[in-house]
Symmetry: C3
Subunit: 131 residues, 3 copies
Amino acid sequence: VSAHDEIRALNQRYARAADERDIDALERVFHPDAEITGARGTASREGWLDTMRGPRAFPTSMHVLGDPLITMEHPDGDVASVDTYAVVYQLGDDASGSGDMTLGIRYLDTVERHDGRWVVTRRVAKTLWMR
Amino acid sequence: VSAHDEIRALNQRYARAADERDIDALERVFHPDAEITGARGTASREGWLDTMRGPRAFPTSMHVLGDPLITMEHPDGDVASVDTYAVVYQLGDDASGSGDMTLGIRYLDTVERHDGRWVVTRRVAKTLWMR
Amino acid sequence: VSAHDEIRALNQRYARAADERDIDALERVFHPDAEITGARGTASREGWLDTMRGPRAFPTSMHVLGDPLITMEHPDGDVASVDTYAVVYQLGDDASGSGDMTLGIRYLDTVERHDGRWVVTRRVAKTLWMR
């Protein structure tokens, strides 16, 4: 399996873990020393996981990630930049959709291969729009 | 072309065949003995194709599939699990969108290579949300 | 990096350049002799770039491209057909979303490798729906 395909799988494992609120699986996506920057500032992996352990504002979510733009300095290297467009559906209880929120997010990640496994070492999540 | 890329193409051929209601192309996506499970229970390929031959509830559809999460037990094997997030736009005639339906669907597929060609042998389609 | 991965990156560079209105980056996506066909007819690369230099109808856009269906006549060839489903979010200033427009677009591209770099030589953009 190519590095590109492994990195794509990392992205998709993140999406499923986030939607299932599977904290163990989320933990495996990130390096222990990862820095995660979002609307609320920069957090360590543990700090960020703590927010994910908290109550959900929306009962259901779906992180639909587009094909990532992967840039590697060296084709056989262990570091890559990953730029991913995502539409995140945050769904309320109301089937009418009146309580839903949809976000356009751009994930700018640095990913590294450690012990043969790709992990995110740095993430900047930019919310492009929210409805 | 790698197995990963062939499996991705299979996904995309499904999307286009479904949107164009091209029954012959849909048939080629699935193995003759495939089992397809959806909201209405489990169907054989022929039974499922019959429902696709029926009248369309919406004149236009667009199956936008995200990057699939592909898991192969053996990199050179002939079997893979494919987990795909999709947003399916079912569009009514009304440009206002009042008659549209949008679905968040997760396809959990087993795909196999038969005679050098990947086909879906088992699909479970889970509707995550509907608006 | 495989031809498939380079072509996917070309698609994603297009999306980001379009959203950032980065005319130089858009220029690099297309061959100098490219023909681009859309709702307003067929344009040369320069003619099309001129329209992109003009005022924006919407302050923000996001081109979310699904996984492309890539077809190469020869696996090691320098020509491919690329069929991409995209959802293009055109966002107005109003957070309520009342001034937004969302389009379902299918890009049917011919891409070629020139001097080791993939570029679009022909694009037909079909708007499947608009809301």
